[in-house]
Symmetry: C3
Subunit: 492 residues, 3 copies
Amino acid sequence: MPDEMSRPLIRERGEGGGSRRLEAPTYECGAPVIGILGTGDFSRSLAKRLVASGFHVVVGSRNPKRSAALFPEEAEVTSQLEAATQAQLVFIAVFPEHHSTLVALKPALAGKTLVDVSNSLQINQAGPSNAERLADLFPESDVVKGFNTISAWTLQMGPRDGCRQVFLCSNSQKAKSSVVELCHRMGFIPVDVGLLSSSLDVENLPLHLFPPWRVPVICTLSLFIFFYLYNFLRDVLHPFVTSGKSAFYKMPVETVNVTLPSVSLVMLALVYLPGLCAAFLQLCWGTKYRRFPERLDRWLTRRKQFGLCSFFCAVLHAIYSLCLPMRKSARFQLMNAAFKQVKAGVEDSWVDEEVWRMELYLSVGIMALGLLSLLAVASLPSVANTINWREFSFIQSTLGYCALLMATLHTLLFGWDRAFDPSQYRFLLPPTFLLVLILPLAVLLGRLALFLPCVAGRLKQIRRGWEKSRHIRFVLPDEDSHNGLDDVSNVP
Amino acid sequence: MPDEMSRPLIRERGEGGGSRRLEAPTYECGAPVIGILGTGDFSRSLAKRLVASGFHVVVGSRNPKRSAALFPEEAEVTSQLEAATQAQLVFIAVFPEHHSTLVALKPALAGKTLVDVSNSLQINQAGPSNAERLADLFPESDVVKGFNTISAWTLQMGPRDGCRQVFLCSNSQKAKSSVVELCHRMGFIPVDVGLLSSSLDVENLPLHLFPPWRVPVICTLSLFIFFYLYNFLRDVLHPFVTSGKSAFYKMPVETVNVTLPSVSLVMLALVYLPGLCAAFLQLCWGTKYRRFPERLDRWLTRRKQFGLCSFFCAVLHAIYSLCLPMRKSARFQLMNAAFKQVKAGVEDSWVDEEVWRMELYLSVGIMALGLLSLLAVASLPSVANTINWREFSFIQSTLGYCALLMATLHTLLFGWDRAFDPSQYRFLLPPTFLLVLILPLAVLLGRLALFLPCVAGRLKQIRRGWEKSRHIRFVLPDEDSHNGLDDVSNVP
Amino acid sequence: MPDEMSRPLIRERGEGGGSRRLEAPTYECGAPVIGILGTGDFSRSLAKRLVASGFHVVVGSRNPKRSAALFPEEAEVTSQLEAATQAQLVFIAVFPEHHSTLVALKPALAGKTLVDVSNSLQINQAGPSNAERLADLFPESDVVKGFNTISAWTLQMGPRDGCRQVFLCSNSQKAKSSVVELCHRMGFIPVDVGLLSSSLDVENLPLHLFPPWRVPVICTLSLFIFFYLYNFLRDVLHPFVTSGKSAFYKMPVETVNVTLPSVSLVMLALVYLPGLCAAFLQLCWGTKYRRFPERLDRWLTRRKQFGLCSFFCAVLHAIYSLCLPMRKSARFQLMNAAFKQVKAGVEDSWVDEEVWRMELYLSVGIMALGLLSLLAVASLPSVANTINWREFSFIQSTLGYCALLMATLHTLLFGWDRAFDPSQYRFLLPPTFLLVLILPLAVLLGRLALFLPCVAGRLKQIRRGWEKSRHIRFVLPDEDSHNGLDDVSNVP
């Protein structure tokens, strides 16, 4: 079979096709016959995968002769009616707007399990879902929604590509069980998401475009624009306005390079701020049984994304910084400085303070970047899956605060004593690093406050279920399990 | 039990070994007794895992006394005949060339399930497979092929190391089901790949050495050699031949550093070329129901590998570039230039055009690298598994084209106006960047052409099933499901 | 339902809640009613997930009215007794120290399956485990230990976050089976770890803090301290003592930058040393059936961690090196050197040997880093899962030795002929690179020795089961399976 698309899957042997065919009638007796209505890309991939998983596949096409060439040899391509009649479990791989063309098959499909694999073209908030409409069309069949999150590509590449989850829902437990069984045999992990009323969500799943990333990315971009304009004012426009010096060449690299670490540090502080807020709210309320405001709750679930945005900016900052000495502008400045030194006859231009400042902030900055890299690697799904929650909380909380501390130190050392130098207040604007430091310093101080014995002890009590309003409860503490939501979502 | 190898697994308690033993007779009544024939590394790891999963394990050895010390205490080590008699399900962990030594056990194994875990030493294209030969030897037993893709190492480390797939095939559905069940209990994910005739492929699986990487890596290496020689001619040999200047010191770093981005950009263009070809073929044929040429099909499945090779070259290029100012040669050149400037009495050597060119191409280059990094991270299996196909196509297609655009801009800015400078045509060879730009510019223009409303509209029709040869089909469109193979494999 | 925490899960539709409720009585007939005792974070997340997976959930609370608001609408919140009575399978999500408060429910829980999800606060080596104590309290119920490794967070985020393993153990096979089934429906991967006597290990699992990393990290830190002090003596203290020059500014960057590659290279050699030791021990003993010393065995399982520590140091070294020309100190030195050159009237200060040395060691160093990056990426769990053991052994063994060779070359080229320069022996201490090279050179020579035909042949025989003590065994070789533990753990 000269079919390269099937390569990634377990291949059929060229010669073996025939012999397998001979065995076909027996197939795997007991295994249900699987029907597929529709002949698109998805149907073809599905048929290949089902055949490879040892099922007897019957494809129903409106034009069986033309379609047969597109399917694996082992699949039987026949009329829609024939396929619907033979199979106990039928995949409906037809555009949802053409579901109604299948109504003629209603008697043949009665009592059978229909798997609706369709997707919408855009997010459907109102309902009803495709699957619900299909169920209305075929009231005597059991409709299962599923496989829509799986692309035809995955169906083909699947077995070598880690685990894949298939979300299933149906009003019929029996029909769902048979599809669950099918998933297992195909190497997918079925996830039962309940009744058919969940199908709308399942259909919307593949249409979302990074919903958890929206706020963090917008936040990053806004901060970038703000700090870029601020730095542009101070570093480019100020010398031009005051002394007529053109420093516009700084815009593509230097200004960006001063902006990126500002964004990165503020974003990193924003990762740890919500945890602190949560802790202080709990201390203030004296209970953990009150819901956080919706915004805080959402923020708590977005910390990973905030952190990764911060890390991305930090890495870009590192690359931009490393590029600095490579630039022609740096070269020209250096040569002009050397010229001046020679003219002035200064044998040694060494300034110890400047040297120490730079060596220190470079070193601390690299350490901060190293720690952030560890955090980023630990947030890769496959790595995160192999660590337990104590390790996770050690990395994301302890190491994370160390990274924040290092990054703050890096900025403080970079600033050195320039906060007290009036010439740094161009246009009366304070140096950028002063603005940047406000939030991280606040977060670090807040964290320190939580280390005070009285505060730490009270917080621990609250997290074990104690409540201010009824002291008796600590003596007879409430049932609870300390399995880590505290540690993951609330402990700052 | 002083057995450090079992550490990663759930450990047996030193003292508990005895007490568990006392419970052994009841074990987990209902659980089948599992036999293992063979005492190699694989057998030992398998026995440990089975014991840890709560099974009663009987190991059949030709020399039980000597072997017993190597197995966990909970496993019973006995003669081969005894093990074959006790167990309902027997793992055959014996070199395939010694399968015949087991013939004496035929009566004891009749009616039982034999799991063949063996591998070949080299790829076997002709067949029959080890499992098929085993099935011929034991016609009265049900042979299941499986676990050969799992290393003894994985068996031991398994539970903490993510999910692992076990490919199973057998002619007996019942035997296969029992092994499927066993896999589930051991924490593996069984993948049913059909009848025993698939066992040859299953046996060959662990012997392949990166088959999808072969073409991309060869492609990268060839491009590297070509561009390296080309740059060597222009940058090293030309000054030596024409003016006797020795620039051979450029070979290890500078020439490599000019070669790497060339390879990277061409490879990146090669990622997007096949998608364009596919789109234009479909436009030309007026249908999506015709098979692409085999080469194009294979190319489409290798795009990820092409992209990662391109990314690897881009990262190396970044590191090489960042190393440039660190070199002694750069230092010497700088000092000599400073000397000349002082001698010539030029106070300011600043050249605005050169400064702008460099600042711009550095900045655009870093952005291209940043985008490529996002693409690379998104192609990690565990990350790719968590994103839906709309997100996947956004990253790989939209962001990917942005990265290509940025990289092309980086090269154009690097080239600046040097394409029109006759002195750049050394040995009549055009500057490298001109050669490099051909392909990416062609791809970008091709992509632009697909944005033209008339072309885009027609392509969309075709992808929904419309065909040039029968216009009526669009009015009554064919059944189909839009689950993304289009978007993943064909949309450029 | 304004519940943002449940967002990541399949969302309930605001309006749909009602309709689902109407169907609630039928729920999914056949599905067991699941009870949860306890109302903490874990209970709430568990209830949400169970509801989302289509189960009927009954939560038993000591104060149902107050708790009801915290649970999803679909879950029934009632008294503990009521919940215990209704459900067949009951999760005990109560602090283990309060298990005894549940004794009143004993009659209601008799004959039912209790799932103990509790964790200890600290590692418990002695036993009995919480689950065993629970089983003692409820002798008429079947206790299953499990879900304690899953955080409340995972329960909520689960379906989109890859696969998660749930370790289960119980003395009742029937009870365990029902929990296994439950896991499957919730999208988790159950791993059967045997009888309830394993529960202590299961409870300790989430309390470990990177046990396999302890030795490698300690090793890295010790080496770092040693080499840092050594370099400090030679590079900072020596010039100060002998000539009064203050080079203390080198401490944050330069000394660290000389220390990191030393640590990295030694750690990389330590990755390949145990494999060599194992091979030589096997050659020496003439058999593979003898256990390695415990330390060697443990070392063999820690090689990945050693390698990643080495890689981390190598990356930091690269960043530090790239920072060198950016520093003020480098700038001052350069300008002073230019001043001297001008004063001395030297037109060309170029020294060919120094240039070549640097170009070569930079180039080789970058290649070593590139290879190490490939090794690091290949050791990510999700990548490692997609490659077979031949590919794994190619990367970790062949590419790994190439990286070691490159890194050794990098160091040799860096050293150049300075080993023979007496002025380098400050305080009579040899240059650092000499110390560093001992181990990698020994490992490379040892590996070369194993390539000698006679040695390689004998080793291969031994790994196929041959033993020195009984030559006859090779003629009639022992049963064995070559599934890769050799290749992964023993082949150097």
